[in-house]
Structure formats: C-alpha cells, structure tokens
C-alpha cells in the first residue's frame, strides 16, 4: 500500500511549481506526522484502559504504540528538516509554531523510556508509565489546537494543501496517509506478537528450568512483561 502511495506520488501527482521534486517529501512527512501524533494519543487511550482494567496487556499496547510513534517522530523531524532546507532555506525555523510544538512533543515523549528504566518494580513501572502516557496524550491535542488558534503562515497545512490543489494531489495524499496508517498498525501488531511470543517463551523456560535458577529477562529493556 505504501509502495503504491509512493508510486502515485512520483508518477501521478503533479510536481509543485516552485518547489519542484522536493515537494514529493510531503507525501511521506505529513502522513508520518499525523500517524505519529495519533499513535501518541492512542498510547494515552490504551493507558487509560490499563489503569481501569489493571490488565498488563493494555500497558504493553500503550508501550508499543508510544515506542513506534517515537521512531516515526524522529522520521518526521528529519524529513521535515530536509523539506524546510529545500523550500525555506533553513534547516530549522523557530517562528513556526507547528515545528516547535512537534519538537516539544517529541522531547516530552523522549523521556518515556528513561522513566520506565528508572523504576524497578514492574507493577509500579506499568502504573507510572500509564499515568505519564495519559498526561502526555492529553498534552498533544491541547498543544496542537493551541497552535491552530495562533496559526503561522509559512507552514503549509495538510487541509489547505489537499483542498486547494488538483484532485490528484489529494488522492495521492489520502493513499499515502492510509498506507502510513496501515504500516503503523502492521508494525504494532508485529511487535505485540513478538513481545507475546517472547514472554510465553520465557514462562515456558522458567517452567522447564524450575523457578529457582531462572535467569531474568535478557538485555537492557524497559518493555513491560506480561
């Protein structure tokens, strides 16, 4: 799906008159940003479910969603930077609220992993990480609505870009957005499956070896354990 979107982006959508080929990065950058932000919010929602049901599965879901969104956010910052260099002439523009807010959100979520690392008790770790995920998850839409209120003019909005341009632009954009969402969901499912499998493997090993000489989970990882 994503491949189809990129193919469309290159062959179907018209090249921007004053930005040229670099404008194609729009089809990666914007869907990635939207999906990453939705992933952060989804992490917050999963965290609410975790605190309500006390089921470790929800914590795992929240962890995986936030983890993937952080990776995507790095991609957004990089592609956005490249695009900004090409179209505005600077790697980073401070007077653009959209960029600044995204950076703040990224910095906030970058503390999620250290927070998990620094709490040893797994039960407590899960609870505290959920509280953090809820707070930060509410912070994301608040910040972005504040930015919409005090809008800058240079950052092109996804909405205006798709409605004002020719139809092929908006179609390609929608396909790219769909592709990115599907990519996120697939990765999320894969990671969930692998985490589930490894925790099952661990519990089987523990049963085989007997409880006393069980080695703790391998490596440095703050991922929740089921």
């Amino acid at each position: 799906m994503l491949t189809a979107a990129f193919a469309l982006a290159f062959f179907y959508a018209p090249t921007d008159a004053d930005q040229g080929i670099i404008q194609k990065i729009f089809y990666v950058h914007v869907p990635m940003a939207i999906v990453a932000l939705c992933g952060f919010v989804a992490g917050g929602v999963f965290a609410v479910m975790h605190l309500r049901t006390r089921d470790r599965k929800w914590d795992m879901r929240s962890y995986v969603a936030i983890h993937l969104s952080i990776v995507l956010a790095v991609g957004v910052l990089l592609t956005g930077s490249i695009w900004a260099r090409a179209s505005w002439g600077h790697w980073w523009v401070w007077d653009e609220p959209m960029l600044v807010v995204f950076l703040i959100v990224f910095l906030l979520y970058a503390t999620y992993q250290p927070l998990r690392f620094s709490i040893e008790d797994p039960e407590k770790q899960a609870t505290y990480a959920s509280v953090f995920a809820i707070t930060a998850g509410a912070f994301v839409p608040l910040c972005f609505s504040a930015v919409r209120m005090a809008q800058g003019l240079t950052h092109p909005q996804a909405g205006t870009m798709t409605t004002s341009g020719p139809a092929s632009v908006s179609q390609t954009f929608l396909v790219a957005l769909l592709g990115m969402t599907l990519l996120f969901i697939t990765l999320w499912k894969y990671e969930m499956a692998s985490k589930n499998a490894s925790s099952k493997l661990r519990s089987l090993r523990r049963r085989l070896a007997g409880d006393d000489d069980f080695a703790p989970a391998s490596g440095r990882s703050a991922a929740p354990q089921l």
Binding site: L108, P114, L115, Y128, V131, T135
Partner: protein, 224 residues
Amino acid sequence: MRRTVAALLRKELALELRTGESVPAMVLFAITTYVIFHFGLDRNTIAGSLASGVLWVTLLFAAILGINRLFVAEHEQGGFDGFLLAPVDRTSLFVAKAITLFCFLCLVEVVAVPAFAVLLLGPSLGQALPALLVVLVAANVGISVVGTLVAALAIQTRARDLMVPLLVLPLLVPVVLGASRATSPLLVQGGAAALPGNWMAMLALYDLLFALIAYAVFDFLLED
C-alpha cells in the same frame, strides 16, 4: 476532604517554617540567576520580551527546585504509608500539595519579582503591577498542578533529580510561552500596554485542563 486538606496544609506550612527547606533556596536561586543573566547577556537593564523571558525562565527553574523537594519528606520518612493508612480521600493529598507549591511560588515571587525590578528591569514596575499579578497567579496555578503531578511521578524513580526537569520542562512549555507573551507588553520601555487576552485565555485553559487530568490520575500514583 476540606478538613484533610486543611490539616495537610498546616503540616506543610509548619514544616517549611521550621526547616526552611524550599523557599529560601528558591529565592536565593532566583536572585543568583538574575546576576548570571546580567553577566551572560552583558546588559545593565532589559525591557520588553527579553525582560519577560528572563523573568519567566528564572521563575520556572526556581519552581523546579521546589518541585524536586515536594515529596522528599514523605518519601524518606514514610509519610506516604501514614497517609495511605488514614481513612481519607487520596486526592486531598494532591490538593494540599498543589496548594503548598502554589504558596511557595507566591512567596518566592514576592521577593524575586521586586528583586528583578531592582536588578535588571529598565522600565518601572509600578504601572504594570496589577496585570503582572494576574499573569503570575495564572502561571503559578499551572506550574503547581503540573509540578505536583510530576513530583509524585518522579519520587519513586531512581534518578529523581534528573527525571523532574526532563518531565516538567516540556509539559510547562505552554505555560512559559503564554506567561512570557502575556508579560512582555507589560514591561516595554515607556509605559505598559494592555494585557493580551488571548494568551491569558490559553493559560486559563491549560490550568483547567491539567487540573482535571491531574485530579483524575493522581490516585494511581499512591498505590502501594
């Protein structure tokens, strides 16, 4: 609930009066930071947006000192266990701590803002003072709500001193943004302008939203 909060507040204030652990350190830190800014910026007087930026960054960093200390006594002396054993609403601890932090911040500002006016500020403060008080109160509410939540979150972690600034700074960026934008027209050279309403509205919205979130999730931070 109200009686519990009052009792907890009395305890906090008595503790602070007798030990003087937080507020004097915060005040001293704020004044030292002004001196640092004087040398760092190489200016004798500042005005406008630069002045409001210096004021708010200093107050924010001073607040982080207070946030760091907020739950230390409870954590080290077993106050959490005592509180959990008492048959009272857990949210009352949050309310009491947030009010305590709010009072600390107000006390710090009583000294730090005049010190700022004497040491660094170019235009006189007198005319801008009523509007500045409104901004200070609105920002203090936001800082104390978020700060209490983060302090309770970070107290159980191993690297508490590290986690508090890392968590609090991004969360408080909207407060600093709103407060410094609202303050900068008050501190311009040659007479204060009116208080900008949209930034005040943003601050108020932020306070309200985070008070609700913190109120909802604080219970989970006290389970043991």
